[in-house]
């Protein structure tokens, strides 16, 4: 019988009612008294020298209050990068300046170099168009290989070249060389991980408000981590003391990583509102979002696998070029290195692994974390390579995977992480059951009769979630701790507000988090509310990304609730005149063990706040506790995915017929929410595999700059998904045993789709080793023609 409350219950989401009735409050829904509007003037060339900006005509236009250019930000900090990577020679990465408004040069299409504040949005936009400027266009570098060539145009004049860092990681060189020298077979693959735009449906918005009475600034912003934005903007950009800065991220319409970062527009509206002593609001258009939200992926890789005569994996080496874009976005440097390189072992016990990454500056929008961040890139390389190896060796791709699975835990990989738990055989068994693999050949034959090529693609994945521990990431270059925090505030009447550092932008925290606390206390979920997204109300937490909400912040909440229980037991022991050690909490009642003496939760909470007849020297009044939780390891969700496709040999059109995912997320708090997260991830992965592509021309013009040109997955592009999470091996090092589920779908699905298409083509008699994503009909048709 499924549970109807507490941990494990598929509870319906309480936040849905406001979203379904139009009562949600997203940042653009907020307007404040005296609000002004901001329009940015953005570069229409990829690279150029700003010769002059004449704002005089624009300043005289109706409603215009002030026009800012880069000059106004001289002496003010630029946008910081939150992670320093050290290259293979021990040198720090290159960190070019990233001014709030471009100074001297523009470096990508969309780089803002002026901004107008006016009484209405229309007036601001009209005036922005009236600014007269002279930008002398310079040659742009877009292609990473070209950017690294001798004499290439430099994105930043003050750097010696366009190489941000040259990073190497993994096993000893001699071990890797030996594995390849002694290999019975080597499989090599070159591939591209296509550049994507995250495209949460809500465009970014920033509203800055200044209160002269107390010298405080408030920033309302579409962010996944309000406290981090407050710290970065206060300490590194504007120099405003943190206690004078409040950052509020209310309902946020999707993030997928792209709302983690501290953006120029946030710092700008905060700065401008202080200068004007008027609130300043900026609302991104979708077209603006394409050229100002950080992009994702964009790797070019050569990867090689060494196998012995028994088809055991003996060595892996990979060389990646990772596009950073024109500037270093907040966490950009960590994505191709620590979030990608450390997952290159995948699910396999390959003894020698070497990862090489060159990060490259180009005249493109900055690239940073997007759903999965590094792990999808690692998984795509590895799982495409294993499939190719199986084809070359003439063995079954599932059998080859099974043979090489890591099968005992904990397992320390050659790339510095230790998987605590997992059962890759179980997820693969489950997957094969879900997809009726036995029946596949009959389905293929049926397709063949209709003139279609049917293919089955399978792959595995592993990811690292719940990013932490602080002391480790600090050694790796992180400039922030990666704990999280929760405060459990029990009211006198027994209801509870839980203030969390995590941020919900679609993940259902308001429903799932109370399920945990309710289960621990034995009270009803309706007594518990979650407070998030406002730095003035919540403890200093790090926000939501990398599937860390429950694993890290949820663990902090568990620890704080344990403190609450301990104190409540003290109070109950006083009320019951019994020894504290004899007090038990069950179903919301404190009972003296072995007796029928009890006191209800509400009586204890009332006593905490009405401390008459109370040993105050032993017990402080009140019932409110905070915990900061810093995990001892990442968590390692894993799984096996399968996709079945039909390819039209006449046109190259691919139809996805079915998709199945068998995931191991450890313990699950709300299975309905977890499955929804997987669905969304799979659709984004299918989007990457089949449709989405962010394309620049050779001059750095962004060709896919709206939904007219960037193909978002729509309802007809995806089937119903089969999702299972029954193969659970709980995480061993967090109190909930949870692993995280938000990115799995986006990591696991692209190789399954591509493997399926290649299976279809090869089974149809065409020898095709690889097709780069997205698998448009044109690309597939071309590949079929040889």
């Amino acid at each position: 019988m499924p549970k109807d409350h507490g941990i494990g219950a598929a509870q319906k989401r309480r936040e849905d009612v406001r979203f379904l009735t139009g009562a949600g409050q997203y940042t653009d829904d907020i307007s404040v008294y005296g609000q002004t509007y901001c329009a940015f003037l953005r570069s229409d060339v990829a690279h150029g020298t700003i010769k002059s900006i004449d704002t005089s005509d624009a300043e005289a236009m109706p409603g215009v209050l002030r026009i800012f250019t880069g000059k106004d930000f001289e002496g003010i900090g630029g946008l910081p990068c939150g992670w320093q990577v050290t290259d293979k020679h021990g040198e720090p990465m290159k960190e070019p300046g990233h001014p709030v408004l471009a100074q001297g040069k523009v470096r990508h299409v969309g780089d803002p170099f002026a901004a107008v504040i006016a009484e209405t949005l229309e007036e601001a936009r009209d005036a922005a168009e009236a600014i007269v400027y002279d930008i002398e266009e310079l040659p742009a570098v877009v292609n990473m290989k070209a950017a690294l060539e001798e004499g290439a145009t430099k994105v930043h004049d003050d750097l010696s070249d366009n190489l941000c860092y040259d990073w190497q990681f993994g096993s000893d060189q001699t071990d890797v060389d030996k594995a390849f020298a002694e290999a019975a077979h080597i499989t090599t693959l070159e591939l591209v991980n296509n550049r994507l735009v995250a495209n949460p449906m809500e465009p970014r918005v920033a509203l800055g408000e200044y209160n002269r009475a107390n010298d405080e600034s408030t920033l309302y912003t579409t962010s996944q981590n309000p406290h981090v934005i407050r710290l970065l903007m206060g300490a590194f950009v504007l120099g405003i003391p943190e206690h004078k800065l409040r950052v509020v991220a209310p309902d946020v319409g999707g993030g997928f990583g792209t709302k983690i970062f501290h953006y120029a527009e946030e710092a700008f509206v905060t700065f401008a509102s202080r200068q004007l002593n008027r609130p300043v609001k900026w609302t991104s258009t979708r077209s603006e979002a394409f050229m100002s939200d950080a992009h994702g992926r964009d790797h070019v890789t050569k990867i090689e696998l060494a196998l012995d005569a028994e088809n055991n994996f003996t060595g892996l080496r990979t060389d990646t070029l990772a596009n950073m874009g024109a500037y270093l976005s907040t966490f950009s440097s960590s994505i191709p290195t620590w979030l990608h390189g450390t997952l290159m072992a995948g699910n396999y016990k390959t003894p020698a692994i070497q990862v090489n990454v060159k990060a490259v500056f180009t005249n493109t929008v900055p690239v940073d974390a997007y759903r999965g961040a590094g792990r999808p890139e690692a998984t795509f390389q590895l799982e495409r390579l294993v499939d190719k190896a199986a084809r070359e060796l003439g063995v079954d791709p599932i059998a080859l995977r099974r043979q090489n699975f890591i099968d005992s835990f904990p397992y320390a990989t050659p790339v510095a992480v230790e998987y605590d738990t997992g059962d890759y055989v179980a997820t693969m068994d489950k997957l094969e059951e879900m997809i009726d693999r036995q029946g596949f050949e009959a389905r293929r034959e049926e397709s063949r009769k209709r003139g279609k090529l049917r293919g089955l693609g399978v792959n595995c994945y592993i990811e690292a979630c719940g990013i932490a521990p602080s002391n480790l990431v600090g050694q790796l270059g992180a400039r922030a701790g990666l704990y999280d925090a929760a405060t459990v505030r029990v009211n006198a009447t027994g209801s509870i507000s839980v203030m969390v550092g995590a941020h919900s932008h679609g993940q259902g925290h308001e429903t799932a988090f109370p399920q945990v606390v309710a289960e621990m206390l034995g009270i009803d979920e309706s007594m518990i509310d979650i407070v998030h997204g406002d730095s003035s109300k919540i403890p200093f937490g790090m926000g939501t990304y990398g599937s860390r909400s429950l694993a890290v912040c949820g663990s902090a909440m568990v620890r704080a609730t344990e403190k609450i229980i301990n104190k409540a037991k003290k109070i109950a022991s006083h009320l019951l005149e019994a020894s504290e050690a004899d007090i038990e909490l069950k179903d919301g009642q404190f009972t003296v063990a072995g007796t029928d003496k009890s006191v209800a939760w509400g009586d204890v909470t009332l006593a905490a706040y009405v401390p008459h007849n109370y040993p105050l020297e032993e017990i402080e009044p009140g019932l409110e506790e905070t915990a900061f939780y810093d995990p001892s390891n990442f968590t390692y969700p894993s799984g096996a995915y399968a996709c079945e496709v039909e390819v039209d040999p006449e046109t190259g059109r691919v139809e996805i017929l079915s998709f199945a995912a068998a995931d191991d997320f450890g313990n699950v708090v709300n299975p309905m929410i977890v499955e929804g997260q997987v669905h969304g991830g799979i659709a984004q992965g299918i989007g990457q595999a089949m449709l989405e592509n962010c394309v620049y021309d050779e001059n750095g013009q962004l060709l896919s700059a709206s939904y007219m040109d960037y193909a978002m997955p729509r309802a007809e592009d995806v089937p119903f998904f089969q999702v299972d999470h029954s193969c659970a091996t709980p995480c061993t090092h967090n109190p909930l045993g949870v692993k995280g589920c938000g990115e799995a779908g986006a990591i696991g699905s692209p190789p399954a789709v591509v493997n399926a298409v290649l299976d279809a083509l090869n089974a149809g008699g065409m020898k095709v080793d690889h097709i780069d994503m997205p698998l448009s009909p044109h690309r597939v048709w071309k590949a079929m023609q040889g």
Binding site: T21, G253, A683, R714, A715, F721
Partner: protein, 161 residues
């Protein structure tokens, strides 16, 4: 500026608008009905779908002045008179047909119109009808399922939500 008069969610409203005021701006800024969302500037995403004189319309593609005398329904007008969720809204909650909620008003308005036109749509008909609405969170699985459920179809055989 011209004066425009219309009925929005059963209530008569009359406001001065300029000729180029979009319906989205009118609803959001003049009437403070912020449930109608703006997700793009190319009429592709469908977050702003409303009903105008019984037709499903992307509010970003019409001027407020064009709605003169019209009966307009927005997401704020979709719940039952007693405030409880309508059948389609309830189905979205029951089947987890939303996550961040930003596309949701447009999805609900589109789905409601579909069920008026076709009370028992097939999976294919639903996916086809949702062509003008983008969701980035749900992968559409639970949206399609919710619409089938709202039309009275048995969805227990569809993979779990």
């Amino acid at each position: 500026m011209t004066k425009v008069t219309m009925t929005v969610n059963g209530k008569a409203v009359s406001k001065e608008v300029s000729g180029n005021t979009l319906m989205t701006e009118f609803l959001r800024d003049a009437l403070h009905l912020t449930g109608t969302h703006v997700g793009c500037d190319t009429s592709q995403c469908g977050a702003c779908v409303i009903h105008v004189d019984g037709k499903s319309v992307k509010a970003c593609t019409m001027f407020a002045a064009e709605a003169e005398g019209a009966e307009v329904v927005t997401i704020e007008g979709m719940a039952n008179p007693d405030g409880s969720l309508s059948v389609i809204q309830q189905a979205f909650q029951d089947h987890h047909g939303l996550q961040c909620g930003f596309c949701t008003p447009g999805m609900v308005m589109t789905a409601a119109k579909l069920l008026e036109e076709n009370p028992r749509p097939s999976e294919h008909e639903i996916r086809d009808y949702l062509e003008g609405n983008i969701c980035r969170c749900t992968g559409y699985h639970n949206i399609v399922k919710a619409i089938m459920a709202a039309s009275g179809q048995d969805v227990s055989g569809i993979a779990a939500e």
